[in-house]
């Protein structure tokens, strides 16, 4: 197990190298000059050159990339070109906000998704099953940004029940903060919820057809005990795999959701940074996304072993 973990950790290195090289090249190939964005209306070439030198933008690209790598190894992502703030500090808060949103969405998606899946699997081919699955297909198909806008329109503009943007306000109570969370979390949860529902349903159906379920029924166990103690546990593996993958979807989905709801997270920071050509922020957020993705996959693999004792890593 230790060897396996070490191997997995080491595999992060080529992944990161690849991702940063691609991102680095892409942002430098794109037109647009961060220095000019920073200088605004009065662009003075002399001062611009000085700023360029200060930020190391006058060096060859390869050198700039190597400098980035050197700093990255030390956990330093450089300074924002536009705000002058250390990237780690700036993205640290944002990352926390994104995690908060994504985990909340994940919890909603898992609970509701599995519930819908189980209910549908209980009565296959029934009207209830069809209804649930139609909802699931709709959930997967609806674009996140559209759903977000619609929810804002209905719950914010029409009913005035929930705030439509931002994460918190100065002096806000816990309840007020929670209200800010509801709409973006539900929006973000929709796609994974639908997918989890479908996987749960098919996985449950498969398990429910197994001999041991029949045996359990034969020995007189109640439906609840069969589902939760016997069926669900065995149906979990594919569900966990999907949940792991979902997490990546949540992170990327967060970019859109955060933009729609003005949620101060990593996704929105990245979009803003692209709009300003703030290279260190773009690179930093992509790197953070990549690391999170790899780590989540690793955690999922470990959970496999825990759920299913037959799985052993060497």
């Amino acid at each position: 197990m230790a060897y396996y973990l070490l191997k997995r950790f080491l595999s992060i290195i080529p992944v990161l190298l690849g991702i940063t090289i691609i991102t680095f090249t892409a942002i430098h190939l794109a037109p647009g000059d961060p220095i000019q964005v920073r200088m605004g209306q009065r662009y003075d070439p002399v001062i611009a050159e000085q700023l360029r030198a200060e930020l190391g933008l006058d060096k060859p690209l390869v050198v700039q990339y190597l400098v980035f790598l050197k700093d990255l190894v030390r956990g330093d992502l450089g300074f924002s070109y536009i705000k002058g703030q250390p990237v780690t500090q700036l993205l640290g808060d944002k990352f926390g906000n994104t995690l908060y949103l994504s985990l909340s969405a994940m919890i909603i998606a898992i609970i509701l998704g599995m519930l819908v899946g189980i209910v549908a699997a209980m009565r296959p081919q029934s009207a209830l099953d069809y209804l649930m699955m139609i909802l699931a297909v709709a959930g997967v198909s609806i674009p996140v940004f559209w759903l977000g806008l619609m929810l804002q329109l209905v719950f914010g503009s029409y009913f005035h029940w929930l705030p439509v943007s931002g994460m918190t306000e100065y002096g806000a109570t816990v309840w007020e903060n929670f209200k800010h969370l509801i709409l973006p979390a539900v929006t973000l949860a929709t796609v994974p919820m639908a997918i989890i529902a479908r996987i749960t349903r098919s996985s449950m159906l498969e398990v429910m057809g197994q001999d041991y379920i029949r045996t359990a029924r034969a020995k007189g166990l109640g439906t609840r005990a069969i589902i939760f103690r016997h069926a669900l546990k065995n149906a979990l593996i594919p569900i966990i795999t999907v949940i792991g993958n979902m997490f990546a979807l949540l992170l990327t989905g967060a970019v859109l959701t955060e933009t729609v709801f003005s949620w101060p997270g990593l996704g929105r920071a990245m979009v803003d940074a692209i709009g300003q050509r703030d290279f260190p922020i773009i690179l930093g957020s992509v790197t953070l996304f990549a690391v999170t993705f790899v780590m989540v996959n690793l955690i999922v693999d470990i959970i496999y072993a825990w759920v299913d004792p037959r799985i052993r890593y060497t």
């Binding site: 037109p31 647009g32 000019q36 200088m39 009065r42 001062i47 944002k94 994460m167 929105r268």
Partner: protein
């Protein structure tokens, strides 16, 4: 109540001094008239009306609150409440004292001496002295601080030596006494006094701001310490900024308890928040202006003001077909296109009357400098036949012999695509093939800098109320390129006139020089002259004391001192 008499007194004193000074010399006419007009902006006495939080929208988050790095209106709007400058502008854009009690200028216009108000304190509690201004100005010029706006000091004695590290301080600024601060210029520059109201010249306590460590550099921007009416207490990056009253403010404690800025990029969302009572002011979304301005529900809340702003498209004079040659000026071609565009139509159909056709270069909101003759007899009116005739004269009959399609480069926001598309249509009416070319902001500005465009959209919102902004920065040949003269237009006669105007101390003469220069630019048509701009906002009727000026470009009121603003509550009479 204490603040009121104090302000009146300081206003009178300033007026007397200014009049004396006027006898001997002079600075911009604007600055003179100003001092005699310093009245408190609040007409109503706010008995029992102190307190409360004013909630204003910001289109985008503030980039920095370190004054030497501020380049944008939003940062400036917030920073204006935190810091003080020597002088500032009132609602009529007249120069009035801020931290300077009064000032005098030497007869040659080269030496400025400011006498500071005594007892003003930084938020840290320390007194503001002339030494702080010396340090703050030096900080702005300091190469190591890498200020984007250092060149605002380029006419100050010793600037170049200091920048080139041949001197260890900025010799042109000094503090002869504890409360007097002196600036020496190397050549006369009339608008200089006016530029000092820019937020970049704010006084900062250097013990807080000057930190060598790289990451601390940012710290001051995030934890600003000024001497203005409000202090920063909370900044949720990307969502809100909260300022609270500085009770030790040298003009007396602000009436408000706090100002809360909410970052809401979408104007529709701002408008909604206002309607829901979550904001005290809002900008008005595209397409809603006419409806809102007439809506009974918003009666008494709608405010409208001409801005010190112009919009235009520039012809890239380094590119064909606009390029002038020794014996063949292409001005008739550029004039032709100026006749081809129906500005009134765009103003009505696309801009909902938010703009007015631009007849000159100095906008009407700059009242003292504006040339009314240009409004009465505009150089260009919509006239397709004249446009066709001039096209023929310029050697392009029927729009022929253009080297390529005339691409219209613009940065993609708001109604810009519609305007570009409409101009494309007007060009087509005179057989000139135009094609819109959208770009996001960073790409757009890079193309401008590289000169990689044929025609490009341009605009300018004055950062100080002086014709210098429009005529010198946007059109003088020394500013060719990204600094302001995007058209890369070069005209010796124009340059000479503007240079003279910059050095001229007599406002009357200066005005005439600018008017002459303006005529030349209109005749030579390096731009497609389009519109002047207005600001249109809704403000809750209970908010009193905000006076919208020609530099308040949106509902964050960047040119307003919010210290005398109060919220009238229904429960108090």
């Amino acid at each position: 109540m204490a603040p009121q008499p104090f302000r009146v007194f300081s206003g009178l004193l300033a007026a007397v001094v200014a009049i004396c000074v006027a006898a001997s010399l002079l600075v911009a006419a604007g600055s003179l008239g100003s001092c005699t007009k310093t009245e408190p902006e609040t007409a109503t006495t706010p008995v029992g009306q102190t307190g409360g939080t004013l909630r204003l929208p910001l289109d985008a988050d503030v980039l920095t609150l370190d004054p030497i790095h501020i380049i944008d209106v939003r940062s400036s709007a917030v920073a204006r409440q935190i810091y003080s400058t020597l002088v500032r502008f009132d609602k009529d854009l007249q120069l009035v004292p801020d931290l300077a009690e009064n000032w005098d200028v030497s007869p040659d216009g080269l030496r400025f001496t400011f006498y500071l108000k005594k007892g003003a304190k930084f938020h840290s509690g320390r007194e503001v002295t002339a030494k702080d201004f010396v340090n703050s100005f030096t900080r702005l010029a300091n190469l190591d601080e890498a200020s984007e706006r250092a060149n605002l000091l380029r006419d100050v004695v010793g600037y170049h030596e200091f920048r080139e590290r041949n001197a260890d301080c900025l010799t042109g600024v000094s503090a002869p006494e504890r409360y007097s601060f002196q600036i020496q210029l190397s050549k006369p520059y009339s608008p200089f006094l006016t530029t000092l109201a820019m937020i970049n010249f704010a006084v900062v306590p250097c013990e807080e701001a000057d930190v060598d460590a790289e990451d601390q550099h940012y710290d001051f921007a995030n934890h600003p310490v000024g001497s203005g009416p409000f202090k920063l207490v909370d900044w949720q990056t990307g969502s809100s900024i909260r300022l609270e009253a500085n009770v030790d403010y040298f003009e007396g404690a602000p009436f408000l308890d706090a100002v809360l800025y909410k970052v809401i990029p979408d104007v529709e969302a701002q408008f909604k928040a206002y309607a829901d009572g979550e904001l005290d002011a809002t900008n008005i979304p595209v397409g809603k202006l006419r409806e809102v301005s007439k809506d009974e529900a918003y009666r008494g809340q709608f405010h409208h003001k001409d801005l010190l702003a112009v919009q235009f498209y520039v012809f890239n004079m380094d590119k064909e077909p606009w390029k002038d040659r020794l014996f063949s000026s292409k001005k008739t071609l550029r004039q032709a296109l100026n006749y081809a565009v129906n500005r009134e139509y765009i103003v009505e159909e696309i801009l909902e009357g938010r703009c007015e056709p631009l007849t000159g270069i100095i906008p009407p909101a700059l009242t003292e400098w504006y040339n009314p003759a240009i409004r009465d007899e505009p150089r260009y009116r919509y006239d397709v036949n004249e446009a066709r005739r001039l096209l023929e004269v310029s050697g392009h009959p029927q729009g022929m012999f253009f080297p390529e399609t005339t691409r219209l480069l613009y940065n993609d926001f708001s109604v810009q695509p519609d305007i570009a598309s409409q101009i494309e249509d007007f060009f087509r009416d005179v057989s000139v093939k135009g094609k819109r070319q959208a770009a996001d902001f960073p790409t757009f500005v890079e193309k401008i800098r590289e000169g990689d465009f044929i025609v490009a959209r341009g605009d300018c919102v004055a950062d100080y109320p002086d014709p210098d902004v429009f005529l010198w920065r946007l059109l003088a040949s020394e500013n060719s390129g990204a600094y302001g003269n995007w058209a890369r237009w070069r005209n010796d006669e124009f340059d000479t006139l503007v240079e003279q105007a910059r050095a001229e101390l007599d406002p009357g003469k200066r005005r005439l020089l600018y008017w002459q220069a303006e005529r030349i630019a209109l005749e030579e048509a390096p731009w497609l002259f389009l519109f002047t701009q207005t600001v249109n906002i809704l403000l809750k009727p209970e908010v009193k004391g905000i006076a919208i000026s020609g530099m308040d470009i949106d509902a964050s009121f960047p040119n307003n001192d919010l210290s005398r603003v109060f919220i009238m509550r229904a429960d108090v009479n």
